[in-house]
Symmetry: C2
Subunit: 339 residues, 2 copies
Amino acid sequence: MNGYKKLGQQTIIFTNTPTIASTGTVVGPIEDKGPLGGNFDIVLPDNLAGEMSWEKTEQKMMQKSVEIALEKLKLLPSDLDYFLGGDLLNQIISANFTARYLGVSFLGLFGACSTFVQGLALGGILVDGGYGNRVGVAASSHHETAERQFRFPTELGVQRGPTAQWTVMGSGATIISCQETQGPKLTHATLGKVIDYGVANPSDMGSAMAPAAADTIVNHLKDTNRSPEDYDLIVTGDLGIVGKTLTQELVAKQGYDISKVYSDCGVLIYDPSQDTHAGGSGCGCSAVVFSGHLIQMLLAKKFRRILLVGTGALLSSTSQQQGESIPGIGHGVVIENMI
Amino acid sequence: MNGYKKLGQQTIIFTNTPTIASTGTVVGPIEDKGPLGGNFDIVLPDNLAGEMSWEKTEQKMMQKSVEIALEKLKLLPSDLDYFLGGDLLNQIISANFTARYLGVSFLGLFGACSTFVQGLALGGILVDGGYGNRVGVAASSHHETAERQFRFPTELGVQRGPTAQWTVMGSGATIISCQETQGPKLTHATLGKVIDYGVANPSDMGSAMAPAAADTIVNHLKDTNRSPEDYDLIVTGDLGIVGKTLTQELVAKQGYDISKVYSDCGVLIYDPSQDTHAGGSGCGCSAVVFSGHLIQMLLAKKFRRILLVGTGALLSSTSQQQGESIPGIGHGVVIENMI
């Protein structure tokens, strides 16, 4: 029998400490011009990069990000026990076609922009539990594919409001392993609940996701009996400036001051001068900020321990047209240098 | 340390034998008029059942199926550690809104019509690995919501071809537990690869899924070193008559004759006189046939051991319009009476 591996209501402890063994990132030109530019493995020259459609470009980005992560370990796709992936497109086509290429057991995930962290948590479970040696996790997004599916085709030139975020063009992939032991470890996962405060504006995803992000952060701290100071960084996925401010307030109302250690991938990835309004969003946002930037900070020992909370707005144009609001979800993982 | 829990390339062994503790089913009127009628917990009178949209009806079906499964054990939603769910609708809205209602940690899955079995496999992993005591798994579909999203709105009255299948209106839910010990056990899971033989006809999902179903069945038998006769039933999710015939042929080419024990949920659920052409399909198909019919056969000891292979056609209208074929996937689980 395994021991019971849950702390409190929602948090899993990984006793076998799965390793973040490798990462790969592919981004678009705007992402490379932002504050994190220079941290990504491949920068595409434009939003098509030679493909016939933006959707095909997004799929190629995801595939390439996994290939890069594998190459860094001199591994082949067949060395993976599982591929866990997802994206924002209907039926997660970027992930499906990437899985077709990789040819290993595939678990398709949909957690909107929380998908990457949902994958890290599940990948941690698979490796920690002895169900496999190596798991590939990837998530992608693309500004144009997301705009035409969820809002307006970009060709229409509809003006964007101040709360709107810019969907990141990029894919981040991570290999979680118990065979490779170099690298920071996954130590906990806090899988989130769906929470809905009634926000119904598809151009204000940050406000829709903030309550779920706050709930996961607070429950994580309660479950682990930790304080914000136990982390060098608590970082949400893609709340942007509006959602980040709200999250910090909601967490403070529960008695935790995270202001000194709190940031958001959607705030980190673009500079205000890039005119992306409230910041970055999309499955690719937390995927490339973690797999490009945060992992390097961990490897350089600038961070000892971080809490990464992937945040998803479960927006559907169908349910929205039928009068529904936009529920949110937040999944958290702790990544830590054990030495 | 846990022991390593994989057999061969793709198969997991559950050493702590998670129990299928309860199930709940809600179906439409056509499903109840089929050969399995009388096996379902709730039968709705029509395809709206008092809701304002088919999508809302589908969501209510999923919610109710989970409630029924919980009620049978006298449990509340808060007794679940996790809810794992998915459906065919863009952004899996039926599952998201059900998760909002349940208020527990949620993992959103997308495996097209393989989603229910993907959920059983992951639920087995969570319970087997000690990551939780009880997991709720559900998947749903609805003929009208699927037709208007993937093919033609039913109001158009487009004629259906002979290879077309009828999307099941229904939701099936299952509680996997290590706290309740009465019931058949999950003993293995074989998580499938994405396989694509180039079928591109959205009215022939059976042919698109057959290669993936065959691959998972063959790999399961190889990994476990078993023969088809070790099972009382090998049953695929929703291949229908066309896909079932193809699967049997493809498996035979690999040296396994499954003809004596092989069936398909899409073939079982409708009678040919119901004019559903090649049979049933949809996430709800394997979910209600397992949770309504197969579980009762197991509980009545008419089956000792079955292999259930959920089959998904990863069809997207976007990728199809861009010239892509329809990849398939099949996930298998073994369910067994241990005495």
